[in-house]
């Protein structure tokens, strides 16, 4: 009997995409185009905004009655902040939409936008978190008595005593510079008003189409049934397309007002300037170790620069709160103290990007472990081995529960693959020849596939989490699964078909997965946070099991056998050990098909991995070359190993970019300096080395398919591995680099300082 789970079958998504027949938002024709007039300054009051005669322009004054974007959490001192969809009176970051113009072509819309006369009274911009926390800093939002939007702290009862009793106190302070997720497809929307029905269809580059519908209908005060949101083929998201774009709200408002169809396609400059940013985080950690290098206590202090407003639905608290909760990572830390804050500045809104805060917290913990290894005199792998969680389930000081995993075994596998002794010999020889090679380890665990309880624990008003799947087997035995998740490159149409096919005894090619259209799919929360295969896959399994039970009951009756003896496979229901069988299509045909639904809302499951980077640092040019990269990971059951490897490859590439290249830079006035791909340096095929991937499959009861999330891990682990490798390479020169990206300029400065 052929099983499909675990096979690297090619994807159902590919044929259309390879032929150039994919359907992306910007491909839709439109009679009208919108262009946004954006603030050229980071802070100030709008004095006037005037369009030439004949130009259709929308400003905040036209949007009376339209709500402001203000997602809320009811914990951790969170202060709700409001963003009007077009700036009203005040601008708070460079690139903030101030007005929208409408024209008959994109070119004309650009001309119109350029012709708008904007007059401002500039204010003092607050660009960094440190400036924003100064007593003399202006408060960026009215009604706030500081620029701190969220703050939280905890200390376990025994923490102070454990710190005092430590043999070694080791400190690390890391800085993660601001990044953009940089999907290759910029954001775009196409709003079509239907005069006959009065409904509007918004096709857009969304990761969560149902929530886009809910949000826009709420802000515009319209009936949610009057809005249809379609996420067609989406050219990568990585989190940037999960947060609500204010531009979509204006687009739908204008299409309804003008009773027409209007499209907006963001250009790359806008995408880098005014789409969402991420990862502007500083973390200081102190580890208290006993004489053998075992953790006694951990202290952390987290400051995140969250930008000017709060992204919907996650709020401005997501990076600081995730850092606070998940900082201890894979290590058995019994005593824990941490303070975290999110700070408003006059910069673009910060929102989740693949891994969210975890690349930064992993960098903090893994730099700490390497520094501690030096102080205590242990190999980097050994100090990790002594501190990794061994027994599961494990409850962390912040209350997370780690399910079955393989932290120690996975690290051992990565170390073997990297051939550490062989590398050390090569490193010594190279050093003798004046070349600086380094090896860096990064070990982490990662919360994935978490349902609504996790969002409720954050106190979020909007609690995404569960997934529904509507499944139908038609009278010919073919299956259609309608899902609320919204994949955009992850291959979910293929992997869900594999799960469903195995449950129903058919082939994946007989399963069609439909997603991304609010008129045609059950309400769901889209695709983000390494959740879709776990949660939508779980809901698919539950729905398929219900249909399976009906197939088996009917087959038992038709074959005059006990239900327990029926097995499904290869398109037939068969009495086990006999040649008595009936085609599944025949069973379905006799009942005119079957329909059922699956609902799944799990607590979450922790994937784990160890990454190892081998680098060479050229101390003349300060360029870092990553020679080799090893990933050993455990995300539970592999449904499609080819797709899993692809997710890891892409994640690692983004992590290496995070470590070495990509940085959003503002000057001291809040002017953004990195608004082209010549300035914001995405890696090419030259910068990404061959990536070796090894798998373990710990089957945890926390996920009904056995699969854990895999979407973000590559990005989470890679930066720390690369930074540790650079530090390993430069140790003979007395240099330490705890900031990413470790650009040639930063390495040069560190080398100069050490001389």
């Amino acid at each position: 009997m052929k099983r499909w789970t675990g096979r690297p079958i090619t994807r159902f998504e590919d044929n259309m995409l390879l032929r150039g027949a994919g359907r992306f938002t910007a491909d839709l024709p439109s009679p009208k185009y919108m262009r946004f007039v954006r603030s050229p300054i980071a802070a100030g009051k709008i004095e006037s905004c005037v369009a030439p005669e004949g130009v259709v322009m929308i400003t905040a004054a036209d949007l009376e009655g339209v709500g402001a974007i203000a997602p809320m959490i009811r914990k951790f001192g969170y202060v709700p902040i409001e963003q009007t969809v077009l700036a009203r009176d005040v601008v708070r970051y460079t690139g903030e939409p101030v007005a929208a113009v409408i024209a008959d072509s994109e070119e004309e819309a650009e001309d119109f936008a350029d012709s708008v006369m904007l007059d401002f009274r500039p204010g003092d911009a607050v660009v960094t978190a440190a400036e924003s926390l100064l007593a003399r800093a202006p408060f960026i939002h009215p009604g706030m008595d500081s620029n701190v939007v969220v703050r939280t702290a905890m200390t376990t009862p025994g923490h102070q005593a454990a710190m005092a009793g430590a043999a070694h106190l080791v400190r690390a302070k890391i800085r993660s510079r601001r990044q953009s997720a940089l999907p290759m497809e910029t954001r775009a929307g196409h709003a079509a008003f239907d005069v006959e029905t009065g409904r509007t269809t918004l096709t857009c580059t969304a990761q969560m189409p149902h929530l886009v519908r809910t949000a826009i209908a709420g802000l515009l005060g319209m009936d949610e049934a009057d809005l249809r949101v379609i996420a067609p083929d989406v050219g990568g998201g990585f989190g940037q397309k999960m947060s609500l774009a204010a531009e979509y709200v204006v687009l739908v408002w204008a299409a309804r007002k003008l009773r027409t169809t209007i499209a907006w396609v963001e250009d790359r400059r806008e995408n880098l300037m005014a789409s969402f940013h991420s990862r502007d985080i500083e973390i200081a950690v102190t580890g208290a170790f006993d004489a053998d290098g075992r953790f006694l206590a951990l202290s952390g202090d987290v400051t995140a620069n969250v930008g000017a407003y709060a992204p919907y639905p996650n709020t401005a608290a997501v990076e600081p709160l995730m850092s606070f909760t998940e900082l201890p990572g894979p290590y058995d830390v019994k005593e824990y103290s941490c303070a975290a804050r999110g700070v408003i500045t006059n910069t673009c809104v910060s929102a989740p990007y693949r891994g969210v805060a975890r690349p930064a917290i992993t960098l903090a913990m893994e730099r700490l472990m390497d520094k501690a290894a030096v102080v205590i005199g242990l190999e980097p792998a050994e100090i990790r081995r002594r501190n990794l969680v061994q027994k599961f389930p494990h409850t962390t000081p912040a209350g997370l529960v780690y399910d079955d995993a393989s932290y120690t075994e996975t690290m051992a596998a990565a170390l073997r693959a990297a051939d550490v002794p062989g590398f050390r010999a090569r490193q010594r020889d190279a050093l003798a020849a004046g070349r600086y090679l380094g090896l860096g380890i990064s070990t982490f665990c990662e919360r994935t596939g978490y349902g609504s309880a996790a969002f409720a624990a954050r106190g979020m008003d909007i609690q995404p989490g569960w997934e529904n799947v509507d499944m139908r087997m038609d009278a010919s035995g073919k299956v259609t699964a309608r899902i609320g998740a919204s994949p955009h490159g992850q291959g979910l149409r293929t992997t869900l078909a594999q799960i469903i096919a195995d449950t129903l005894g058919i082939t994946p090619a007989e399963v069609t997965v439909i997603h991304g259209d609010t008129d045609d799919t059950p309400y769901g929360w889209g695709t983000f946070a390494s959740r879709s295969l776990v949660i939508s896959g779980g809901a698919s399994l539950i729905a398929a099991r219900k249909i399976r039970a009906k197939l088996i009951d009917d087959a038992a009756e038709m074959l005059e056998a006990a239900a327990a003896d029926i097995e499904l496979g290869d398109g037939f229901a068969r009495v086990a050990g006999t040649d008595r069988a009936v085609a599944i299509a025949a069973i379905a045909g006799a009942k005119n098909g079957f329909a059922d639904e699956g609902f799944y809302d799990p607590l979450g499951t922790f994937s784990n991995a160890t990454h190892i980077a081998i680098v060479e640092v050229d101390v003349g040019t300060c360029k870092v070359k990553v020679e080799k990269f090893v990933v050993a990971e455990d995300a539970g059951r592999l449904i499609n190993p080819m797709i899993v490897d692809g997710q890891i490859h892409g994640g690692v590439a983004q992590g290496i970019a995070n470590a070495l290249l990509e940085e959003i830079v503002y000057d001291e006035t809040g002017n953004i300096l990195t608004i082209s791909l010549a300035d914001f340096l995405a890696p090419t095929a030259h910068e990404i080395p061959p990536i070796e991937v090894l798998h373990r499959e710990t089957i945890s009861a926390a996920t009904i398919t056995g699969a854990k999330g895999i979407g973000e891990g590559g990005t989470i682990g890679a930066p720390a591995a690369v930074l540790n490798a650079i530090n390993d390479a430069l140790r003979p020169l007395g240099v330490e680099i705890d900031e990413m990206p470790a650009t040639p300029a930063r390495i040069f400065a560190a080398l100069q300082a050490a001389r």
Binding site: R19, A26, D27, S676, L677, T684, P690
Partner: protein, 152 residues
Amino acid sequence: MILDVNGHAYEVEVEPRRTLADALRKDCGLTGTHVGCEHGVCGACTVIVDGEAIRGCLMFAVQAEGAKIRTVEGLAGETLHVMQQEFERHHGLQCGFCTPGFLLLAVAALEQAPELNDAQLLDVLAANLCRCTGYQNIIKAVSAAARRMKEG
């Protein structure tokens, strides 16, 4: 003016400032050519003009008059082109947005120089950006396609 795309003559009327990429997408209706940055870095808009892979965003449509233009829509015949087949087999695409540009970049390079070795192919592929694959499987796919194209 006439644009000769994939062997078909498209009669279009465009403003002088319209790029070839926009003309292909909006005036010829060939939306398989994607626009990722409009400043010549990402290569999503790569098409083949008179045998050379070029950035569709860095050429005006009027400059392509009289040239033979090939886009992703013209690659497959009855079956997928060898390059497309190998991208599918090796999982060389995820979201698919950069894919048409990579396909045409690689096809043009190998049609011009079938003997390119893997290191030379890497130099070619470093011309375009992909955000999903970390390039691993694109490199494998192009390398496999190169062998098959050479064998004919």
